[in-house]
């Protein structure tokens, strides 16, 4: 009897997660249950010299053994149910997402519990996981997509010297330096009940949620020592880093500068209107797209951003799960042609010194300058606001996405961001939009990263340094049909001076060191 009493006391002492840490979204018609565990940690918690440790730790939990089962045995068990789980790590959060058909919720639950509470941290899993992680930082990022490469290179510049600089997967030297014991202690110190937000959506029972809350309160009781997120550096003029690669087919460009506001600020909705008009992701009716792609057909698309957009090459709509408190705005110019390719394709372009990168960059920056000078028109403002108020409703279509956006809301101190955003958009005025864009954007001081072919790097760097004219080099086929206003505009763009203060060429192998 005494033993039982003592046990009960211990249980109550351990407690359960508090209501404010749990986001619930009950959907009795759904055939599944989605559980998300969001830890406030992220790659900013990686110790110096061990960059990538949070990523390794989350991967060891999500792709390793747990309890008395190996990872492989867990997969066998989940297989007939098609249940699955995975981890994602960003700068300031790590998230574990579990998905199971409601039919198997009770059988699945102990696995979820053991994965989170009793990760095996097996040596063999560790070797497998870190081999893949190392491969990504050594090869994957450089060799898979030049667009993603230039985006990560831009972050590397913007946040240099801060805990926001390194990729979540780490760096070659730091991944090699991570030891299994460090993973165990990182799990204990940074994946705790004190920095956890729990989310659940779908067709779950009260009992399922009760067990989940009770069990997740058994996570480490350490109060994590969360570092302050690094802020983006303000460049001195336009600072360019050209990454020279062997056999690149084009020039992939990203440019950006610090931005003080986030979704937590009401003004963010006003800036969103201006950004959507200028460069809504993957939308043909935004300004940059129309100028660079539609009229001149220089590349596949051109967009602008006022917050991090995960995997822009694959996602049509912004995914949840990457909330950040340090922010910057950016322009994405998808790969444009290099001189060597244009020379090969068109006899009339056989003597051009550089490809389209400088012209495209000038054009994008000039468009921002024009907007800063002229502001949005009433007509564009109304059309864009109307668009956004419908469009943001598409962000969260599935139970998992709805849950994710609700959990992100809490990160920014909001209850339901998408709903609140609609309210903010409804009442925002044109003056507020024009004020927000002028206080948030400037083009005098920007970082620029260009991943390009080795043959293009030197001539491009020279043109940038000298701020020399960069006339647009069309094939005769296209040039002959261009209207005068386009050619006139081209001339203005070609001569448009940028506040270039430094241009550096780095070899691909020397990036992310």
């Amino acid at each position: 009897m005494k033993t039982i009493l003592l046990f009960s006391l211990l249980f109550f002492a351990a407690g359960t997660l508090t209501a404010q840490d749990v986001v619930e979204l009950k959907m009795p018609n759904s055939n599944k249950i989605v559980v998300k565990l969001m830890f406030r940690n992220g790659s900013i918690c990686d110790p110096q010299g061990k960059e990538g440790l949070t990523y390794t730790t989350a991967s060891m939990v999500a792709q390793g053994g747990a309890g008395d089962m190996s990872y492989s045995e867990i997969q066998d068990k989940l297989f007939p149910w098609a249940a699955n789980y995975y981890s994602t790590v960003d700068k300031e959060v790590s998230i574990f997402t579990f998905q199971v058909p409601a039919d198997f919720a009770d059988e699945f639950y102990p696995i979820l519990r053991d994965v989170m509470l009793k990760p095996a941290f097996d040596e063999s899993d560790f070797k497998r996981i870190t081999t893949n992680q190392l491969n990504f930082v050594e090869q994957g990022i450089r060799a898979s997509s030049d667009e993603e490469y230039s985006k990560k290179a831009l972050e590397d510049l913007l946040f240099r010297g801060t805990n926001y600089q390194h990729m979540k997967e780490g760096k070659a030297a730091s991944v090699k330096a991570i030891a299994l014991d460090e993973v165990k202690s990182h799990y204990n110190n940074f994946f705790t009940k004190n920095n956890l937000r729990l989310g659940i959506a779908g067709n779950y029972t009260d009992d399922f949620l009760k067990r989940l809350k009770k069990d997740m309160a058994q996570l480490s009781s350490v109060k994590p020592d969360l570092p302050k997120p690094g802020k983006a550096n303000m460049p001195n003029g336009i600072e360019v880093e050209i990454v020279a690669k062997e056999s690149a087919f084009g020039s992939a460009i990203f440019t950006g500068a610090p931005l003080a506001m986030t979704r937590a600020d009401d003004d963010f909705a006003a800036l969103m209107v201006a950004n959507s008009w200028m460069g809504e992701h993957r939308k043909s009716y935004s300004r940059l797209y129309q100028k660079i792609r539609q009229t001149r057909s220089m590349n596949y698309g051109d967009y602008s951003y006022i917050e991090w957009y995960e995997q822009g090459g694959g996602n049509q709509l912004p995914p949840s799960g990457v909330p950040r408190s340090s922010n910057y705005w950016s322009i994405w110019i998808r790969p444009v042609q290099i001189a060597a390719q244009l020379q090969k394709q068109y006899a009339e372009l056989s003597d051009i010194p550089i490809g389209h990168a400088l012209f495209a960059l000038r054009m994008a920056i000039r468009e921002f300058d024009l907007l800063l000078k002229n502001g949005m028109t009433k007509e564009d403002f109304e059309a864009t606001r109307t668009f956004l108020r419908s469009y943001i409703k598409l962000y969260a279509q599935s139970p998992g996405a709805q849950l994710g956006w609700l959990m992100d809301s809490k990160f920014y101190g909001r209850k339901n961001y998408l709903k609140e955003l609609d309210g903010l958009l409804a009442k925002v005025t044109l003056d507020e939009v024009n004020k927000a864009l002028r206080t948030s954007w400037q083009t005098e001081n920007m970082y620029v990263t260009i991943v390009t072919d080795a043959s293009e790097a030197e001539p491009l760097a020279k043109s940038l340094k000298e701020n020399s004219d960069s006339p647009m080099s069309y094939s005769n086929l296209v040039k002959s049909g261009l209207p005068k206003e386009v050619l006139d505009e081209d001339e203005a763009v070609a001569k448009y001076k940028l506040n270039v203060k430094s241009v550096k060429i780095v070899k691909s192998a020397d990036t992310f060191q």
Binding site: N31, S145, P335, T386, Q397
Partner: protein, 446 residues
């Protein structure tokens, strides 16, 4: 121990009973064919105020039979955004923006899909916009020439990936006559030449953008009655065409083919590409191959456990058949830790396939695999877009969205003997094309 076995057994019985006698898509598929041959498919789904509006055109790079026009189906997809007399591209963009929809298009071997997902109350405008461009597309010669640059830009961004490069070479090697020889992007020299093909583009439009090639799919907060009325109103006068592409048949391959890409910037890679069947919802071959690919190559397979988890020779192993209208490939892909293991891994894969030919597969694993296939699908269809995409996939293959339900019903019928049969039929050395990437000059895998 006995208890554990019993509970496993019970859960398997439960698994197979959940879907017993039911269609995999738990929502009725309403079909209505217009007099001109345009099929209209509606699936009402509980997504308040939201609807996905898709149009599948059963034309893709498969139809590019003429010399010098590879990549044209995809290029034409771009041209569909270049405007009409009624809605020139600026006006089209402005109206599309006013709907607040997520709209785009994409092309593959066998089809081109145009989609808009947005407010169900805007369906009328969406129909009007789409009906106009599908019937009255009218772009200028200059607009045509200009758009070709965007396609080149798309090729340029894709080309950064060595996996895209090897895929292009692999198809060129594996096929001799059939148009699956080229990718949907097309050969680069044809892309560079696209601006010169204006006349062909008009022919292309007249041939394929016809009601008999198209199916409208609407999923979401709608009724079939409303959708059918809109279809009749906006597409009812669309004139039927009469063009049929004669796709060259692929002659039987006689021996193993190899190709290699020298590139040390990514981990060594090997693709084993066997000639496989066309999709069918009447023959057992494709369902049996789907089951086989899961049993032999999924993360729970013996081969995966050995090569990835235990020996750690591979970073990744996967395999599966392409769902295609004509016979295509069954591709097995492996990413290596060390290039020294390429031949060993190839031999292990062949050994695993040979074992299926002689010993078949474990019936318990077969049952679990069928359950996995069904539950994976059931969990995936949680919004209108996903359902519309699935329906479009099967419309592409057979023209009939019910093929989705038929295929999943077929999975239930796959036996151990069926799996053995397809292993013997398709995994033969004379049907194999080996593609490799490594820093070496030659792949060296036999």
């Amino acid at each position: 121990m006995k208890l554990k076995l019993l509970s496993g057994f019970l859960s398997l019985i439960f698994v197979s009973s959940v879907f017993a006698g039911e269609k995999i898509l738990p929502y009725p598929i309403h079909q209505h064919k217009l007099d001109n041959g345009l099929n209209v498919v509606t699936v009402p789904f509980d997504s308040p105020d939201l609807a996905a509006f898709y149009i599948v055109v059963r034309v893709g790079s498969r139809n590019e039979v003429e010399e010098g026009v590879t990549g044209f189906a995809h290029f034409f997809e771009h041209m569909m955004f270049r405007g009409t007399d009624k809605f020139p591209k600026e006006k089209y963009s402005a109206i599309l923006k006013s709907t607040g929809a997520a709209a785009n298009a994409n092309t593959s071997n066998d089809r081109t899909v145009y989609h808009m997902t947005g407010n169900a109350n805007k369906l009328g405008i969406m129909f009007e916009l789409e009906a106009d461009r599908f019937q009255n597309l009218n772009y200028s010669v200059h607009g045509f020439k200009t758009e070709a640059g965007a396609v080149k830009g798309e090729y340029t961004k894709n080309y950064a990936s060595p996996y895209q490069q090897i895929n292009e070479k692999m198809r060129d090697t594996a096929f001799d006559k059939h148009t699956y020889k080229h990718t949907t992007m097309g050969f680069f020299e044809d892309i560079v030449d696209m601006p010169n093909q204006y006349d062909y583009s008009r022919t292309f439009f007249k041939r394929f953008y016809r009601p008999e090639y198209c199916t409208i799919v609407v999923v979401g907060d709608v009724t079939a009655e409303k959708v059918n009325k809109l279809a009749e109103k906006h597409f009812g006068d669309w004139e039927r065409g009469d063009y049929n592409t004669t796709i060259p048949s692929e002659p039987a391959q006689k021996e193993t083919r190899t190709l290699h890409l020298q590139n040390g910037a990514i981990p060594p890679y090997m693709g084993l590409n066997y000639k496989g069947p066309a999709f069918s919802d009447k023959e057992i071959d494709m369902p049996a191959l789907d089951v086989l690919s899961s049993i032999v190559f999924s993360r729970t397979s013996d081969l995966y456990k050995k090569l990835v988890f235990e020996e750690r020779k591979l970073r990744f192993l996967g395999g599966g058949a392409f769902d295609s209208r004509d016979p295509n490939l069954f591709s097995i892909q492996a990413s290596f830790v060390s290039k020294a293991d390429m031949q060993y891994v190839k031999d292990e894969i062949v050994k695993a396939l040979e074992k299926v030919k002689t010993a078949g597969v474990d019936p318990k694993i077969l049952a679990k695999t069928k359950s996995n296939l069904k539950y994976s699908f059931a969990m995936s269809i949680d919004n209108p877009d996903r359902i519309a995409n699935s329906l479009c996939h099967y419309i592409m293959l057979t023209g009939d969205p019910e093929s989705l339900n038929k295929l999943y019903a077929f999975y239930d019928k796959v036996t151990v003997d069926d799996v053995k049969m397809v292993a013997k039929k398709y995994f033969v050395p004379e049907g194999l094309t080996i593609a490799t990437i490594s820093e070496d000059e030659n792949g060296g895998v036999k």
